[in-house]
């Protein structure tokens, strides 16, 4: 059975089990490995992608659920706020092991798309689903504030 959707701006059709989680379809069938596997149960956020602009956990999203929709992964980030997030991540030297950071960047850029001046509480709400075992949380928070500032300019 095939599923057609738009992946990082380009139409794609994948012939696969419609129950296969989007994470594995994108990683193994579409060949985009930037999105990571951490828990398989939407508990850690390492697999965060954007579906029609919303941050979602791709490890529990069946492939059939994205039929006809727009999926963006870390490889396809283009928006001004996403670029601001990535620049702030570099400026503040956020990553350590780096494995969760694709998901962190995806959650943070989805937040800034909707909220250009997030408070600490907004950041807690948007980012608490993304675990970082290296505990880079202080820098993630600072980087989101920094990215928000840069978007004002």
């Amino acid at each position: 059975m095939s599923t057609s959707f738009v992946l990082n701006g380009k139409p794609i059709t994948l012939d696969a089990d419609p129950n296969m989680p989007l994470l594995w379809a994108v990683r193994e069938l579409a060949g985009l490995p930037g999105t990571k596997f951490g828990c398989g149960m939407a508990l850690c956020g390492a697999c965060t992608m954007h579906l029609d602009g919303q941050a979602i956990r791709s490890c529990v999203m069946p492939l059939s659920g994205v039929d006809g929709r727009q999926v963006t992964t870390i490889e396809g980030l283009q928006s001004r706020s996403a670029k601001a997030v990535q620049a702030a991540w570099i400026a503040l030297q956020v990553p350590q092991c780096g494995y969760c950071q694709s998901g962190q960047v995806m959650s943070a850029s989805a937040l800034l798309e909707k909220n250009t001046a997030p408070t600490d509480a907004d950041i807690d709400a948007a980012m608490s689903g993304n675990i970082c075992r290296c505990a880079t949380y202080s820098r993630i928070r600072a980087a989101i504030h920094s990215a928000a500032q840069s978007l004002k300019a």
Partner: protein
């Protein structure tokens, strides 16, 4: 050199350079053999090329001016790649923007970690400490050969030349030559016997907050982890392991698993039954469908509560001595005031974000491994043993590790051995196999930080001075029955069980530490900061109780006992000063606490500020951290490791526990094995003590004091001491 040919992503500059240097030409390299601090340099055949200069095992300079530093340590988040590159680039006077890092192949002769002896591996916060002089010399020798080459070209003496940012200058004639233009000539220069290292006051890179070399790729998703390795024809394997520790496969029925589309094979290995498929999802479904009967006759079937009950009884029995100063029993009898407490610590999982994984390509004569490999030559030896090969036939590509916290370095090489066993069971047919653990596999799979029980007693004299200290520790030994046991375990004492307790820094005239080592089939391992993950909590929480009994505040009481420990005392004072430590209590519902530790020769003190509401919800508001790690090669990475260690340690004391119920692990995933999340991260301030001492480690020590600092702050806020980890849930607090 190791080539990460498994890369599936667009060719990077690194990959291009590696390709460009594949045409070998004659050259030379230096192999260092280190024994303690003595060194012998010997010229051996080398991988310099027509396009590059590889003066020794640790760097290569390209005709394009690129400097590739070869890292013998894994990059698992601790910043090792950046630290290693900084040390080499400093003595080389390289242009930092042209420095790249590549992982070394597994080779104990060239890439041993001196802290471990003749093994290549990363751990014990030793990467910088053991690389420091080795890499400074490697950089300095390369620089000397480049300078000699330029001097010969220009017919001037080397004394007239200077080097800066990857360019050799002759100021008198205004000639200059970038490194890349000198690579062929430099490769022909003799290796200098002696080189002069820089005076630290001339350091340009060491001590600066250079950006990490790995950050850009970790922000755009292009950093390659083992999860991302794709090889032609590769199969993904998931392994069904026994539900109880010590159980084995009795029989299995592969029928339902084999019927799942995409499942290719089902094979039995010593550790369980593996399902191999064309992708993860099919392998996962296949494993879910697999029916296995287990033989649990030799399995551990107790619950963790029963194990702790037994530990309490064992703590009352005589046990081997780890330290005995004066007469603690007599001093306790004579004390004006005595106090006692016990502390209980659970099993902890490392739970790195990247679940364990390894890719193996096994043939009759070779074994190629891709992994976030932390213990290269032990993994190489274990893989060779399983495969029936010579270790020389096993090559390892060390990739970025998605966290480890100790998990990926283990004497049994568990996940590597599993992957090789599966490849062997498949016929060693050269088909690449990626073994992928799930989060459930990770939490159920053992190699936990052991459970421990600590019993402490202390005595004070009339003046409130600490005269007696008796400490008994009960728990499994991490080193027992490993290849490290003959060197490490002496007279029944595994030093990793008592470090931080037997090495207590406080001046106490009568002091005893005893260790009762238990043995049962739950597999255990070092976990970030190893023994100090429990000993520091027990010592620093109990010394706080002693301070209260003496009528003093935690800072003043500790400070008096550290007069003979200048570096420890200095971090204690610095943390207290920066935190605005005061004997006066904070407003109602708030409290501050302090703790200090030495781990891996690094000194760390932390002051915690907490708020506790009426229901008992603890919010850690602020941690002020002072650290003395000798020379801070990169102060921003030092700060990052303290921040991360604090978050890691805080999550463990607040929530971390693996529990057994009739032998079964009760935690499955991050819902039941809680770790720290964004909303729980305190404000952290880190102060690095300026120092010219040799660098010591920073990956682990920041973890040690946070738990007791927070527990002591909770006492200040509530009057309640915490003796059982993790901290009580709010309803019970």
């Amino acid at each position: 050199m190791t080539r990460q040919t498994a890369a599936v992503r667009k060719p990077t500059r690194r990959a291009f350079l590696k390709g460009a240097s594949s045409v070998t030409a004659m050259a030379l390299t230096i192999g260092f053999e280190w024994a303690g601090t003595t060194r012998r340099a010997a010229a051996v055949a080398a991988p310099s090329t027509a396009a590059s200069f590889a003066p020794n095992a640790f760097l290569r300079i390209g005709a394009d001016n690129s400097v590739t530093v070869i890292a013998k340590h894994v990059e698992m988040g601790q910043g090792a790649y950046t630290g290693i590159a900084t040390i080499v680039a400093e003595e080389l006077d390289a242009d930092w923007s042209s420095v790249r890092v590549e992982s070394a192949p597994a080779d104990a002769t060239r890439y041993a970690n001196f802290v471990f002896g003749k093994l290549q591996g990363t751990g014990g916060s030793s990467a910088m400490a053991n690389s420091w002089m080795q890499l400074r010399e490697a950089g300095a020798r390369a620089r000397a050969m480049l300078v000699s080459a330029a001097a010969r070209q220009w017919h001037v003496s080397v004394a007239e030349l200077s080097v800066s940012n990857g360019i050799v200058y002759h100021p008198a004639s205004k000639q200059q030559a970038p490194f890349g233009s000198l690579v062929r000539a430099a490769a022909l220069m003799p290796v200098p016997d002696q080189v002069t290292l820089k005076d630290p006051k001339h350091f340009k890179l060491i001590g600066r907050q250079l950006p990490r070399v790995d950050v850009p790729a970790k922000v755009d998703g292009s950093a390659q982890f083992t999860l991302d390795v794709v090889l032609p024809g590769m199969l993904v394997a998931l392994l069904k392991r026994p539900p109880l520790f010590g159980a084995t496969v009795q029989s299995f029925d592969a029928g339902a698993a084999a019927a799942i589309p995409g499942v290719v094979k089902v094979v039995q290995v010593p550790h369980g039954v593996a399902v191999l498929a064309t992708g993860f999802w099919a392998a996962k479904q296949g494993r879910d469908a697999l029916a296995v009967q287990w033989d649990d006759s030799n399995a551990e079937k107790r619950s963790s509560a029963a194990i702790m009950d037994e530990y309490r009884r064992i703590a009352e029995q005589p046990a081997p001595s780890a330290r005995n100063d004066g007469d603690s029993a007599q001093a306790l009898r004579n004390a004006h005031k005595t106090l006692s407490a016990s502390f209980e610590f659970p099993f902890l999982a490392h739970a790195p974000m990247e679940p364990l994984d390894a890719v193996v390509k096994l043939t009759a004569s070779s074994c190629e491994i891709w992994a976030g490999d932390q213990f290269q030559t032990i993994d190489q030896a274990n893989a060779a043993r399983i495969a029936g090969l010579d270790p020389k036939q096993v090559s390892i590509h060390t990739l970025y590790a998605g966290g480890s916290f100790g998990r990926r370095a283990n004497p049994e090489s568990d996940f590597i051995v599993e992957a090789v066993s599966i490849a062997k069971a498949c016929g060693a047919d050269g088909i690449p196999i990626k073994l992928q653990w799930t989060r459930e596999d990770d939490l159920h799979g053992g190699l936990y930080r052991p459970m421990y029980y600590h019993k402490l007693e202390a005595g004070l004299d009339e003046k409130g001075e600490l005269t007696a200290w008796r400490h008994v520790i009960v728990g499994q030994s991490i080193m027992a029955d490993t290849l490290f046991a003959p060197i490490m375990v002496k007279d029944g004492i595994d030093p990793t069980s008592v470090e931080g307790a037997a090495t207590i820094a406080y001046a106490i005239p009568n002091l005893s530490v005893n260790l009762a080592t238990t043995k049962f089939p739950v597999p255990i391992l070092w976990w970030r900061v190893v023994g100090s993950s429990h000993t520091t909590f027990a010592v620093e929480a109990f010394i706080d109780e002693a301070a209260t009994a003496a009528g003093e505040d935690g800072f003043t009481f500790r400070r008096k006992l550290l007069e003979h420990q200048p570096r420890m005392k200095a971090v204690l004072e610095l943390a207290a000063e920066k935190a605005g430590w005061s004997k006066d209590p904070m407003p109602k519902g708030r409290g501050r606490g302090i703790a200090v530790a030495e781990a891996f020769k690094t000194f760390v003190a932390q002051v915690a500020e907490v708020s506790v509401d009426e229901a008992g919800h603890v919010k850690v508001d602020r941690i002020v951290c002072a650290v003395d790690c000798g020379t801070a090669i990169n102060p921003d990475i030092v700060a990052a490791q303290m921040e991360g260690g604090i978050g890691f340690g805080l999550g463990a004391v607040l929530y971390g526990q693996i529990t057994l119920k009739d032998g079964r692990v009760e935690q499955d995933n991050f819902n039941s094995y809680r770790v720290l999340r964004m909303n729980e991260m305190p404000k952290v301030e880190v102060y690095v003590v300026p120092s010219a001492e040799a660098p010591t480690g920073v990956g682990e020590p920041g973890v040690a004091p946070v738990g007791p600092a927070v527990a002591n702050a909770i006492f200040a806020a509530t009057g309640k001491r915490i003796h059982v980890l993790p901290f009580p849930k709010p309803s019970a607090a």
